[in-house]
């Protein structure tokens, strides 16, 4: 198979060949001219002019060689030095070689930044976990005591609620992996809903619908605490403000490549301005976000979940939100389908 050269290689090779061929041509012609001159077939002035022309031609060839062979190699050397310095203030000349190098450097820069953002996010989440881990065992034990006492007093509602609360804390505070099987995340949502249903009485109903023939959905890996903040938003920013009963529907769809989870409520929704703002912040690349300012508003949970998903899986995954003022909101989460390993 014929080897394909890049634009840079082709150009350097072409001009090297031209220079080399030119050099040979000038040398051969000089020899021929000399023979002609010796055999007196050429006058002295003619011989001199032709020699000067040959020199000029050689000069042009050298210039070409310098411009198209030597210079690109120097640029290459300079760029490699830039890489060695680990400096990202590069500004390379417009050139096909430097363009591709700039692209590589851009990718490198964004991956470093992404990694940095991921570390910051993880550190923040670990710090938050540490804050709440003052003494988890004390909390679990106390909740168990409350539950036990409630059972002794035949107060099954409190026992049930305390159990849900203990499970909820155990899942959230527990130092498990970043990603968990979807079944665990669903269980956590159920625990959360159980607690909230005691609080809101019959204010809302909650349903989970699974659209997966293969039953693989339970083993699909999902970042921990992805669904609960969305469901929490549906309750507090959707259903709570609604007059009358509401519904929250959670749909789980698996395809060959993706896991799609949507949370839809028929609450008060949001106006177009807020929706546009949230959609714009969701569209931003995760690393653009400013972590120092923690705004206390509706979109922050969505933003956090969206950032985590984008950082973990890439920009084509994440959250999509649609809403109608006074009618309802739908949040769709799309992530790649990764099944839990057998062991």
């Amino acid at each position: 198979m014929k080897k394909k050269y890049s634009g840079f290689q082709r150009r350097v090779i072409l001009f090297s060949k031209i220079s080399f061929a030119g050099l040979i041509a000038v040398s051969v012609s000089n020899v021929v001219l000399s023979i002609c001159f010796v055999n007196e077939k050429l006058t002295q002035s003619g011989y001199t002019i032709l020699l000067v022309l040959g020199c000029i031609f050689l000069g042009v060839l050298s210039l070409l060689f310098l411009q198209y062979v030597i210079k690109p190699i120097r640029v290459l050397e300079d760029t490699i030095e830039t890489l060695n310095d680990e400096s990202f203030d590069y500004k390379l000349d417009k050139d096909s070689l430097t363009d591709s190098l700039t692209r590589i450097l851009d990718k490198y820069k964004s991956s470093i930044e992404r990694e940095h953002a991921e570390i910051v996010l993880r550190q923040e989440s670990e710090y938050a976990q540490l804050q709440s881990q003052i003494n988890p065992h004390f909390l679990y034990n106390t909740l168990e005591v409350v539950r036990g006492q409630a059972l002794i007093d035949d107060n099954y509602k409190i026992a049930d609620m305390t159990e849900a609360l203990a499970k909820y804390f155990r899942y959230n505070i527990g130092k498990d992996n970043d990603k968990v099987p979807l079944s665990e995340e669903i269980d956590n949502v159920y625990n959360y809903i159980k607690i909230q249903q005691y609080r809101f009485a019959d204010k809302f109903s909650f349903h989970i619908y699974v659209h997966d023939d293969s039953k693989e959905y339970k083993n699909c890996m999902i970042p921990k605490m992805t669904l609960q903040p969305i469901v929490e938003n549906a309750i507090f920013h959707g259903i709570e403000g609604k007059i009358g009963q509401g519904t929250i529907d959670l749909h789980i769809v698996t395809t060959e490549e993706r896991l799609i989870v949507s949370v839809a409520d028929d609450g008060i929704g949001m106006n177009e301005e807020t929706l546009t703002q949230i959609n714009q912040s969701l569209k931003k690349h995760a690393i653009v976000l400013n972590y120092s300012k923690k705004k206390k508003q509706n979109g922050i949970a969505l933003e956090n979940v969206n950032n985590r998903l984008k950082l973990l899986f890439g920009k084509e995954y994440g959250i999509n939100i649609s809403s109608t003022w006074m009618v309802g909101t739908e949040v769709e989460i799309t992530i790649p389908k990764v099944l839990m390993e057998a062991n």
């Binding site: 997966d212 749909h251 698996t254 395809t255 003022w325 009618v327």
Partner: protein
């Protein structure tokens, strides 16, 4: 396991807000029926045009059969993605077999067409999906339903994976709807996905796996069979543009406007004996949408009267043609309004008052513009025409304003009888409201309104009386009682 064959992500069409497609997303899996519902102007046709390759998206990406189509480039039409719209793509002078097999684009064929072969294969295909269609029939002879079936079968022959259908049920009677649903189910079972675009929820809802609600270019909610709620879907469709509810009260007077006596017309309407009163709104309903239309069309000379008499204002009336009917103050609004539509290059005022110019002009030839301007002001707000667009050509207005102008023109014309053929077909909720308002105004003027429809749901909200034609019998349904 579901295989996603079409995925649209963060799609934007248009340079600046309001976008024609606004952060739109859609996913269609293999063998799935998806119903995409949206009002007029929601962006459904734009989607269809995108898949035909005639529209370029501004942002987002489409993944079709694992191939990625980025924004800025047209979608490359693929025979495995078939679009069936209102405009037929069949060749009318060719037979069914030729349309299905000769025009198929998938397989390489020889130079000569082997008629026996294609007829045999068509027979096989038709026997599975539509036994009543014969391979040798010319497309010209086929009904609208049969044409759609042929177009679907051509898609099957092209090994289509996804068929996008633009609201075809509006053309059908009940029997045809049932047949089409059966056919779509067969296609679904053969792993062919269907994306059905419609203005409102209809018969496809029951067989849809997903119902996607689209409003102003956005996908506002995806329902599944389990959680579909008609009331919520309607609210999502309308958003915050909730139309005023038509307050219906009967305007029926004792005076008889029209009487059918032993009336026979067309092939299906037999022995009609009926009185229609002044200001009455009467609906003609037929499950197969035949006899009802024949009775209504006979009034404007569009259907042959075989026997019996027709009395208009207690005088014998023999219909000739539409012009004759209009001369006698009988209005006619056909199903397809393309040839009675507005003049695109005229202003809304000129369009509105053109037919009544004679009534407002001095000596029948000098236009009194002061009267017209006064009327224009009166109707501007009612029709939703902004002050700045007063002198603009009507082609710049949306469908709703255009239809409002068209119906208001009839209100100004003040007919004594008006015949509406399936006015609510192809109409979404907002459009239905406009139509019902116009009918209400006409009835209030004392006009007798005759409406035909194959759907009782279209007739019930507006009619005083519904005549149900069932074979040779007529059943009266008095709505007010």
């Amino acid at each position: 396991m579901k295989k996603e064959i079409l995925r649209m992500e963060n799609i934007y069409a248009g340079d600046s807000p309001p976008f024609l497609l606004d952060n739109f997303h859609l996913s269609v899996n293999e063998g799935e029926i998806v119903n995409l519902i949206g009002l007029s102007g929601a962006g459904k046709t734009l989607l269809l045009n995108y898949f035909n390759g005639s529209v370029v998206l501004n942002s987002g990406r489409t993944i079709w059969d694992r191939k990625v189509f980025e924004a800025g480039k047209a979608f490359h039409p693929d025979p495995r993605l078939a679009c069936i719209g209102h405009k037929s793509t069949l060749v009318e002078k060719m037979t069914v077999a030729e349309n299905i097999f000769v025009l198929s684009r998938t397989k390489k064929r020889g130079f000569f067409i082997q008629h026996r072969n294609i007829i045999y294969r068509t027979k096989l295909l038709l026997s599975e999906y539509a036994p009543d269609i014969k391979p040798n029939m010319l497309v010209d002879e086929l009904s609208q339903f049969q044409r759609h079936v042929v177009a679907l079968l051509r898609a099957v022959e092209n090994e289509a994976k996804l068929i996008i259908i633009d609201d075809i049920f509006q053309f059908y009677g009940h029997h045809e709807i049932m047949l089409m649903i059966k056919l779509l189910m067969k296609l679904k079972n053969n792993n062919i996905s269907i994306l059905y675009e419609s203005h409102n929820e209809n018969f496809i809802i029951n067989i849809s796996d997903k119902v996607v609600i689209m409003r102003r270019g956005m996908n506002v909610r995806t329902f599944y069979q389990e959680d579909y709620r008609s009331d919520l879907a309607t609210q999502l469709l309308l958003g915050n543009d909730i139309p005023k509810v038509v307050q219906r009260s009967t305007h029926k007077k004792e005076e008889c406007r029209l009487e059918f006596k032993n009336f026979y017309c067309g092939d299906n309407a037999k022995n009609v004996n009926l009185k229609i009163h002044k200001g009455e709104v009467i609906g003609f309903y037929d499950l197969e949408n035949k006899a009802n239309k024949e009775i209504a069309l006979s009034l404007v000379g569009e259907c042959e009267i075989k026997r019996g008499h027709l009395y208009y204002n207690e005088e014998l009336y023999i219909p000739r043609d539409i012009d004759y009917a209009i001369k006698h103050n009988i209005g006619y609004v056909p199903r397809s309004m393309t040839h009675v539509n507005l003049v695109d290059n005229m202003s809304f005022m000129d369009n509105l008052f053109l037919p009544v110019m004679k009534k407002t002009s001095k000596y029948h030839f000098l236009n009194d513009y002061s009267v017209l301007k006064f009327l224009c002001k009166e109707y501007m707000e009612e029709l939703g025409v902004p002050e700045k667009d007063k002198y603009k050509k009507v082609k710049v207005f949306d469908t709703y304003i255009r239809k409002s102008i068209l119906f208001t023109r009839w209100v100004l014309f003040k007919p004594q009888i008006i015949v509406f053929i399936e006015p609510c077909s192809n109409a979404d909720i907002l459009m239905q409201n406009i139509i019902y308002n116009a009918i209400e105004k006409l009835a209030k003027q004392g006009c007798s309104v005759i409406i035909t429809s194959p759907y009782l749901t279209d007739l019930k909200p507006i009619c005083d009386r519904i005549i149900i034609t069932n074979e040779d019998r007529f059943i009266e349904l008095n709505i007010n009682k």
